[in-house]
């Protein structure tokens, strides 16, 4: 039985966070050293949380699977970070950022959380600058801003095309300082494989040392999960190779509710797949759509021609045709789906992968004619360079090819206002939780949420929990640790023992294809049922035929992948069930049965204004569905239109 008490504080929306902070219990400075906290993950959320809590005086153990905390995938974010600073005097405010985020999330996020996010956004920029993040500046020395993701105000702060990297290096430097001071003990090359509960509270984790293969136990007074999203369920995504759902999924199996797993964001401007040897997809900044025109040939037989030989009247500028007022700047989900439709129609371009051409042109010829080569080069030079490095093609001479790819996951472990999951003592931060982005995330808001959770929210909400439960000084010799470790070891042994004939990667590819085809950009009852029929078959095949070579006692990347794929194979089913349950289209979740005549998403507020929270019911059993009703006290739902 999940308890979905969201614990939203009393009072009007702008006072809730202040109310919470005033009423929250505190831990006396001299008592803080008696508490220890485990932080899993060292991206923006994890690094900022670990550094902040260590500064307050708690003892932190921080874990990451990479060789250094500085490599977490937050580092790859390019665009920027939003904050309601209103430095540009263009009418921005906390309320406007809050409003835009709720609307952008298609009215499926919790208003109180989103308001708090907008409220602390201004502090994030101050904090980052204080830590030395070299944001872009104007000649007067003040911070520069740009408008991003269709926002009507310029509220995005950026550091060239490397904003994620610079923000992460800021949080990492604060973390390293605490490591040097002895307040954080850093455990690199460790993968969390399970959660240990004592008397119902999260009190420890079991990890595998990825170098020696040892299974290790760690205990603490609370566990913070900052392990990112599950976009790699699609195999091909813009995520890093190591990104996975394992930590979150194993917490789910221990009783943490998983909310809205079907809300996955697809980014429209990625470089298409070059062939079946592809291991990841690379995203290019969406700003390209400001000047590029998207098209495919009108006739399928033109698809193999040199695009420059296809005359103007044989081209279909489908976004301009379907959405005359927004044209090539139509929102992410709409332009993604339109690209898929064009390719499904047999009019995709570029190399055929398994018999299908999955790409559309993004053409700069008109922009070059209008503004000159030099201007286009100044604006997008680095992106054209990146495109050429990856594809070997010169986009000044021949149109770029783009295609959508899985990019971010809005769903995640359910948390209350305090970021606590349904397991007491287990807190979930950043992309790993579900709370702030509803059914779709606005550009430049992921970095904002990761840092908000770590720098400004958890330092207030975690002490409230710690003060209530007291320091327990849990020993890892307890029987609870024995039991969980035994299960972890059994699972590894089981994987090693199958000794089949297919590598873990092959299963991952197979699963990815099913998820992308049947639970990707557009879903239907039929496609989801098909996926739910196929996934158990792949899973069954996996446990019969997976082959994990090597041994457990050293670096074994096959074993690592096998464990992650095994969890994806179970999690994928929950994702499809969630998509099937949600009989509406909203945000990034598009059910083809629920659309307007113009192909727009048709929300069903009367029946689906809730967060769908899934509870693990045991092996081979369908999970239980719980609902947290999402109310709209501030922002009244409207239907969006981009015509």
């Amino acid at each position: 039985m999940l308890n979905l008490d969201s614990k939203i504080p009393e009072g009007e929306i702008s006072k809730k966070w202040s109310n919470f902070k005033f009423h929250a219990k505190l831990v006396n400075p001299s008592n803080r050293r008696k508490f220890s906290v485990i932080v899993v993950g060292s991206g923006l959320a994890g690094a900022s949380a670990a550094a902040s809590l260590a500064e307050q005086g708690y003892n932190i153990k921080c874990f990451c699977y990479q060789d250094s905390p500085r490599r977490a995938h937050s580092i790859a974010a390019q665009g920027g970070i939003n904050a309601a600073k209103n430095y540009q005097n263009d009418g921005d405010s906390i309320y406007r950022l809050f409003y835009d985020t709720v609307k952008g999330g298609d009215f499926r996020s919790r208003e109180a959380n989103v308001y708090r996010l907008a409220e602390v956004s201004v502090n994030i920029i101050d904090q980052c600058v204080a830590l030395g993040v070299p944001f872009a500046r104007e000649y007067g020395g003040l911070l520069a801003n740009r408008s991003f993701g269709g926002a009507q105000v310029s509220r995005t702060f950026y550091a060239r095309g490397q904003t994620g990297q610079q923000l992460l290096l800021g949080a990492y430097s604060a973390l390293e300082r605490q490591i040097g001071l002895g307040k954080v003990k850093m455990y690199t090359r460790r993968e969390m494989l399970d959660l240990v509960k004592v008397d119902g509270h999260a009190k420890g984790i079991i990890v595998r040392n990825l170098v020696t293969g040892e299974i290790e136990r760690y205990a603490a007074d609370a566990v913070l999960l900052c392990t990112g999203g599950y976009g790699n369920v699609f195999y091909l995504s813009t995520n890093a190779q190591g990104c996975n759902v394992t930590a979150a999924y194993r917490c789910y199996k221990r009783g943490a509710g998983f909310a809205n797993p079907c809300f996955t964001q697809i980014h429209p401007t990625c470089i298409p797949q070059h062939g079946d040897q592809q291991s990841k997809l690379t995203l290019m900044s969406e700003s390209l759509r400001n000047d590029g025109r998207v098209w495919v040939p009108k006739k399928a037989e033109d698809c193999t021609k040199n695009p420059n030989d296809i005359p103007e009247d044989a081209r279909d500028y489908y976004l301009e045709r379907k959405y005359p007022s927004f044209g090539n700047l139509a929102p992410r989900d709409i332009s993604s789906r339109a690209a898929k439709e064009a390719c499904d129609d047999g009019r995709g371009v570029g190399p055929a992968v398994n018999g299908e051409r999955r790409g559309v042109y993004l053409d700069f010829a008109d922009a070059i004619k209008r503004d000159g080569l030099k201007t286009v080069e100044e604006k997008y030079g680095n992106l054209f360079e990146m495109y050429e490095r990856i594809t070997g093609e010169n986009a000044y001479e021949t149109p770029m090819r783009i295609y959508p790819a899985s990019h971010y996951t809005m769903g995640g472990l359910w948390v209350d206002y305090n970021l606590q999951s349904t397991i007491p003592g287990l807190f979930v931060l950043g992309e790993a939780n579900f709370s702030d982005h509803g059914a779709n995330r606005l550009g430049a808001s992921a970095l904002m949420q990761g840092l908000a959770d770590g720098y400004f929210v958890i330092p207030y909400t975690l002490p409230d929990y710690l003060a209530r439960v007291g320091a327990k000084n849990i020993s890892t010799d307890r029987s609870e640790f024995d039991e969980v470790e035994k299960e972890v070891r059994a699972k590894i042994e089981k994987l090693m023992a199958v000794k089949g004939n297919k590598s873990p990667r092959q299963f991952h590819i197979e699963l990815g294809k099913v998820m992308w085809e049947y639970c990707g950009m557009a879903r239907s009852e039929e496609s989801l049922k098909k996926a739910l029929e196929l996934i158990p078959k792949i899973r069954e095949d996996f446990w019969k035929n997976v082959k994990v070579v090597g041994t457990e006692d050293n670096i074994n990347t096959e074993l690592e992948r096998a464990g992650r794929v095994a969890d994806f194979l179970e999690f994928a089913e929950v994702m499809c069930l969630d998509a099937l349950n949600r009989n509406e289209s909203c945000g990034a979740h598009f059910r083809v049965e629920y659309q307007t005549e113009d192909g727009e998403a048709k929300r069903n507020d009367a029946e689906y204004s809730y967060a769908a929270v899934w509870e693990y019911a045991g092996e081979g059993k369908a999970p239980n569905l719980y609902k947290e009703v999402i109310t709209h006290d501030e922002v009244k739902p409207v239907v969006r239109s981009y015509k």
């Binding site: 060789d67 490599r71 830590l131 030395g132 070299p134 020395g141 550091a159 062939g275 990856i390």
Partner: protein, 250 residues
């Protein structure tokens, strides 16, 4: 394409490793170098052999995890490019390619192509930060920073901490890395109060960890995937001299 590989294999804890020879066929020229390694590893798995372990993660040239010396050059033949962004079209059909781990005394080898770069984190811990307590900063626009200064700090901050500079240096010096970290913070007014302390601490930690000194070969700059330049080493040397003089004057 078909390529022949000579790859360094070394078991964990083993004193010595050796080159093993492999052939990979049917590689698309559009595949990345690491995708070619994926194919090779799948091949090895099919033959019940242990795959080659190598560090990699983001595969878009920013996390700094990938680290292979290809035909003697850290990150391979293409300038300003990490291994993960290097593509097979840069090689010829039938080429023999030699792949080794980063080699430096301060980067002990773990297994196959994976080395430990913990030393870089230790340099950062020594002083690569600004002690600004979380939760109590002033407004971000309170200190205007001239664009030229902010841009220079950003040029230095672009370092991805991959360690190619160390691997390329005949002295296994970490001066390019350390100077990028020192300069990023030393350029900024926020970093001024701790400037001397930081510079001395980071330089001394770097020496203590067994990295060599700079003797102006410039190999580090040539292989840096992010275009970090030797100017920063000059700046660090200058900052170090000033810091030491200030210390002596006390």
């Amino acid at each position: 394409m078909k390529v022949h590989l000579k790859v360094w294999r070394q078991k964990q804890g083993a004193a010595k490793g050796k080159f093993e020879t492999y052939t990979v066929d049917n590689v698309s020229p559009d595949s990345s170098f690491l995708e070619m390694f994926d194919i090779l590893n799948e091949q090895l798995v099919a033959q019940d052999k242990e795959p080659i372990v190598f560090d990699h993660d983001c595969r878009e040239g920013i996390c700094g995890m990938c680290s292979m010396t290809i035909n003697g050059i850290p990150h391979g033949p293409e300038r300003k490019t990490t291994v993960c962004q290097l593509h097979m079209r840069k090689f010829k059909d039938g080429d023999t390619i030699v792949v080794e781990p980063w080699r430096a005394g301060a980067f002990p080898l773990k297994q196959d192509l994976i080395v430990s770069r913990d030393a870089l984190d230790l340099i950062q811990q020594a002083g690569g930060f600004i002690s600004a307590r979380i939760g109590s900063p002033q407004d971000a626009n309170a200190i205007p920073i001239p664009k030229e200064i902010a841009d220079k700090a950003m040029d230095a901050a672009a370092c991805i901490g991959c360690g190619a500079c160390v691997a390329a240096c005949p002295n296994a010096s970490a001066m390019l890395f350390t100077s990028a970290k020192v300069s990023h913070l030393n350029y900024l007014p926020q970093g001024a109060p701790e400037r001397n302390r930081r510079t001395i601490a980071m330089v001394e930690k770097m020496d203590e960890l067994g990295f060599g000194n700079c003797s102006n070969y410039g190999e580090c700059q040539a292989v840096c995937p992010k275009g970090i330049t030797l100017d920063f080493i000059a700046k660090m040397n200058r900052d170090y001299a000033i810091a030491k003089a200030a210390e002596a004057a006390k």
